[in-house]
Amino acid sequence: MLEVRDLSVRYGVYTALHGINLQVKPGEIVVLLGANGAGKSSLFRTLSGLQRPSQGEATYDGQLLTLGRPERCVNLGVAQCPEGRLLFSQLSVEKNLRLGGYTHRRDAAGNQAELERIYQLFPVLAEKRSDPAGSLSGGQQQMVAIGRALMARPKLLLLDEPSLGLAPLVVDQVFDAVVRVNEAGVSVLLAEQNAFAALGIAHRAYVLEGGRVTIEGSRDELLHDDRVRSAYLGV
């Protein structure tokens, strides 16, 4: 279980997150809604150890994530599929995926099995396994990025804006895959601007505004919340 307690992140004089509290329980899909600059990516960077918080902490199953050591977070079972994907664009699709299993590099058989599972989840990647990741379409690159994160065999998957810049049909495919990953027992924290699609698969959600959690609740509560409806669902 992910627990974020009173977490603040500052860049110089600018405060990106002001004392955030949130949880992701085992098996949940939790959606984080918010506009650009609301602090979603800052939160994700902090949970992955890329950024140290100025205050507060985040733990996974009681183990501290916020020590500024990304490899520790991966080893604790928290993997991130980042905004912008951050793929190794000249390396092949398969090499990108295999590098996702870097922390399990002594378990070749396990990595091979995981790789096969990802090719089942995204059959198009099996066809393109030898192509440079950078040559793929945006949607396929997003699949590589999700697959790379899954290769770490996470218990919690952090997904930052997976639908950004993708065609609606591809967004559906990506969200379908997220649901299947979740059904296989991985909890998911999903940051999205595409509120309607994201709430469709969520169990619970938080709304982040100006670095603060302003609304939280179950999926149905948020779908019927007037503020959410006007600001994020456009109804």
């Binding site: 992955s48 991966v74 980042p82 994907r85 951050l86 664009s89 000249q90 590098l99 996702g100 994160a149």
Partner: protein
């Protein structure tokens, strides 16, 4: 006609040595995004370490080559930890200035220990191989064979091993590499080790055909920077192609224009290539 073939072999030998030095420089640039202006001095120290092992300690040549490679690998790692790592957050020009400082520092150290005089590095690989009217000294043949073997080993390491893949991954996306749990600090150390070791191997191979002096590092520096700019900064195939291109330009420039102008021809090629393709032969526009 015969002289052209003869010079072709000489160019291959020179290109092999240039490749090894340039590969280390381009790997470090790829991973760290810093031009290591101290790289030439690693090459120079590598030549002195080999020389000292051969003459002062009577170590056999191939063992001396291996020991120099390890010693320079460790020195390069130390350099990364002591100079570049502490400067990792500072503006772009600081590590460059620090690297130039290291270049002068190492040169002064070598002068202090071994003096400013030229040294002759005697290779035990003597003899001349003659075939169809072409002759090749044993040392040049060794340069060609050894540099090809080292390059093949490096390619195998980068393309076929997980540790090698982490170097390429970090060069292509540092943040992505951190997110999959690759320890980027260790990869940086490893990359510096490889660059120092390659420079020492090149020095041990090439020095017997020329002379060893404290300033040899600066000359090599100029050439390998020209090579990786020519090939595209950070590109591995670019470094190899650039190295052979420069070697061929120098050797054949020497033949057709005159030996005194060999270097001029080499840099003229650099200017022409960059005028047509500013990002280098294998570089990508940012």
């Amino acid at each position: 006609m015969l002289i052209l073939f003869q010079q072709l072999l000489n160019a291959l030998a020179l290109g092999g040595a240039y490749s090894l030095v340039a590969l280390g420089l381009t790997l470090v640039y790829g991973v760290m995004k810093i031009p290591n202006f101290a790289h030439g001095s690693l090459y120079m120290v590598g030549a002195y370490v080999t020389w000292a092992l051969l003459t002062d300690f009577g170590v056999p040549y191939f063992l001396a080559l291996g020991l120099a490679a390890v010693a320079l690998g460790l020195l390069a790692m130390l350099l990364e930890r002591l100079v570049f790592y502490p400067l990792r957050g500072s503006p772009g020009v600081s590590p460059m200035i620090a690297a130039i400082g290291v270049l002068f520092f190492l040169e002064a150290c070598v002068q202090l220990i071994w003096g400013p005089d030229f040294k002759l590095l005697n290779s035990p690989v003597t003899g001349i191989i003659t075939f169809a009217g072409l002759s090749l000294t044993g040392q040049r043949l060794l340069m060609i064979v050894a540099s090809v073997l080292v390059m093949l080993a490096l390619f195998y390491f980068l393309k076929r091993t997980t540790t090698g893949a982490t170097i390429e991954a970090m060069a292509q996306n540092r943040e992505g590499a951190r997110l999959v749990g690759i320890p980027v600090g260790r990869v940086a150390s490893l990359t510096f080790f490889i660059s120092g070791a390659l420079a020492a191997v090149a020095a041990a191979l090439y020095a017997p055909t020329s002379l060893v002096s404290p300033s040899m590092g600066e000359i090599m520096n100029l050439k390998v920077f020209a090579i990786i700019v020519l090939g595209g900064m950070g590109s591995v195939p670019g470094a190899i192609v650039g190295a052979f291109l420069l070697a061929f330009a120098e050797i054949f420039g020497g033949v057709f224009v005159g030996a005194n102008f060999a270097d001029v021809v080499g840099f003229a090629v650099l200017v022409i290539v960059l005028a047509i393709r500013p990002q280098g032969l294998f570089g990508r526009t940012a």
